[in-house]
């Protein structure tokens, strides 16, 4: 039964050695080792996190860049479109203005021509009238040179009046 009878000496020494060992190892080994491991783990975690953050930032930056590029492109397109529209508008306006002006000129030209024409016609009429009178005077003078012709004439006129 010696095998399962604990001896006092060994109990004493085991207790003593174990207690001292726990104390010394805790103070000089476990604490420094565990704290170093912990520090390093924290550092690694930090490094990983910051790497992740940097990657995220880079990604953001890239997407920002893309956004800016896209916006710039859109802006350029818009500006081009606007310019084109403005150009078209300007041209159309110019065209309109030109045609309006042309019309106006035409109109006034026509008017002037009409006026000129009217004036010419009037003058022509007047001339024709005076010519006609002159001719009629000359004809009348020629016809009414003898008495007899004058009398016949008067009679014919009187007849005309009776007939009416």
């Amino acid at each position: 039964m010696d095998l399962v009878t604990p001896g006092f000496g060994l109990i004493f020494w085991t207790t003593l050695v174990f207690l001292i060992l726990v104390f010394l190892l805790t103070k000089f080994a476990w604490k420094p080792i565990l704290s170093a491991v912990k520090t390093r783990e924290a550092a690694i975690e930090d490094a990983l996190k910051s790497a992740e953050r940097a990657r995220e930032e880079l990604k953001n930056l890239q997407s920002d860049n893309e956004k800016i590029m896209r916006e710039a492109r859109e802006e350029r397109d818009a500006m081009l479109k606007e310019a084109r529209a403005m150009k078209d508008k300007t041209i159309a306006e110019a065209k309109d203005a030109a045609s309006a002006e042309a019309n106006k000129i035409m109109e006034s030209a026509k008017e002037q021509i009409e006026n000129e024409k009217l004036a010419a016609i009037t003058e022509l009429k007047n001339q024709v009238a005076s010519l006609s009178i002159e001719m009629a005077e000359k004809v009348l003078r020629a016809e009414l040179k003898d008495q007899k012709a004058q009398t016949e004439m008067v009679e014919r006129l009187v007849d005309d009046v009776k007939l009416n």
Binding site: L3, G9, V17, F18, V22, L24, W30, I33, L34
Partner: protein
């Protein structure tokens, strides 16, 4: 996930070592039974040679009746039980070898260790060589006017007169009835334990110094080997079973217990000085470790823990007192099982290796063809057991602590 792995580990442990422990139990009984026989047989032999041996013992200072018991009779019969029991028991010296000189006298070579006794007259210290390798009470060591004898590794006050067998003690069925001083000698086990303590301090001290010198960098050399083990104990034993809130407090204790047991187990596997001591296979050592586990567990018990022990919530009131008795007994059976498991497994390992080697001496040298490979196999297995038992002891301690500090939410 981790509960599963713990269960798996426990199953393996119980399957593998339950059988080993069981085997050991029966073997142990056998051993005890035949040990008594051995003792009686020895006594008989002492009786026989008492007359002439005694005279010689006094005449030759260097002679040792114990070892001569068989040798002097010429026919040396190898006693396996005696050898094995002697090897797994504690001893006051590191026995290395016996040899027979030209004159046919047997001598023992051993490393003496200090004997420290608290006697009726105060503290007495001397080297175990004062007993001249005697473990049968035939040689009296006289120190400071006090006389001591060593009988089977235990130290007694020597009687004034020799008994019929030549020993300086009063014999009761072969066992001395003499008074014993309080023996706090540096025995083989204590020596090994101190060696382990020094080794642990050196190994982990230098690991710690590495970090002190280099800061919290990636480990190299010794540190790179030790750190994963430390982190394993911290994460997979302590954190897993105690829980994130309380575990940090217990890590140093668990680390110490793990490496102390492991290194002691390993040193026990070295078959010669300074190894070979059966430290963790000694019930006193495992008892002290189990008591520490018990104290750490129960001194840190939270309100919930004691509630679960003495007034289990969620059970009918009629059953609660019954459960309280069961749980209360459980408080003690848990560390008791810790004590027995480690003791039985390590002792069984030593017995197995010694038995296999003994085959060669019992039968013939030819059996070494079988015994050596088998011993090699068992030794390698024991390397695994050494780590596994340290792991299981630490794991279960962590589990018990975990149960004690756990806060339930009802």
């Amino acid at each position: 996930m981790h509960k599963k792995s713990v269960l798996l580990a426990l199953t393996v442990a119980f399957l593998g070592f339950g059988s080993a422990a069981f085997g050991n139990e029966s073997e142990g009984e056998q051993n005890t039974a035949s040990h008594d026989e051995t003792v009686q047989q020895e006594t008989h032999e002492h009786e026989e040679h008492a007359d002439h041996a005694h005279g010689e013992a006094e005449a030759h200072g260097e002679e040792h009746a114990a070892h001569d018991a068989h040798g002097e009779h010429g026919e040396e019969k190898f006693n396996v039980n005696e050898m094995i029991m002697h090897h797994i028991a504690d001893s006051h010296s590191f026995h290395i070898l016996d040899y027979t000189d030209d004159a046919g006298e047997e001598h023992a070579v051993s490393v003496p260790l200090p004997v420290i006794l608290w006697t009726d007259n105060g503290l007495v210290t001397f080297m175990s060589s004062a007993f001249h390798h005697d473990e049968t009470g035939h040689h009296v060591a006289e120190v400071d006017g006090q006389r001591f004898i060593n009988v089977h590794g235990k130290i007694y006050y020597a009687s004034e007169e020799q008994n019929a067998h030549g020993g300086w003690y009063e014999s009761h069925d072969g066992h001395p009835a003499n008074a014993k001083p309080v023996d706090i000698s540096i025995t083989k086990n204590v020596f090994t334990m101190l060696l382990v303590a020094v080794l642990l301090l050196l190994i982990f001290g230098s690991t710690a110094r590495y970090y002190k010198k280099n800061g919290a960098v990636a480990p190299k050399g010794l540190a790179s080997f030790m750190e994963p083990l430390v982190v394993f104990v911290r994460d997979d034993i302590a954190k897993e079973n105690i829980g994130g809130k309380h575990y940090a407090r217990f890590v140093p204790f668990l680390l110490t217990i793990f490496f102390f047991i492991w290194l002691n187990n390993l040193l026990g596997l070295i078959p010669f000085f300074p190894g070979s001591a059966n430290v963790t296979g000694n019930i006193a050592v495992t008892m002290v470790l189990a008591i520490f586990a018990f104290l750490v567990t129960n001194l840190n018990g939270k309100k919930d823990y004691w509630l679960h022990v003495f007034w289990m919530p969620g059970v009918p009131y009629a059953v609660r007192p019954l459960l309280a008795i069961v749980e209360f007994v459980g408080l003690f059976t848990k560390p008791f099982a810790l004590m027995l498991r480690l003791f039985a497994n390590i002792t069984a390992g030593h017995i197995l290796v010694l038995s296999l080697i003994s085959l060669i001496f019992m039968l013939s040298i030819g059996w070494s063809a079988l015994a050596v490979p088998l011993t090699l196999f068992i030794s390698v297995l024991e390397l695994l057991v050494a780590a596994l038992q340290a792991y299981i002891f630490t794991l279960l301690t962590a589990l018990f602590i975990g149960a004690a500090v756990e806060e339930h939410h009802h």
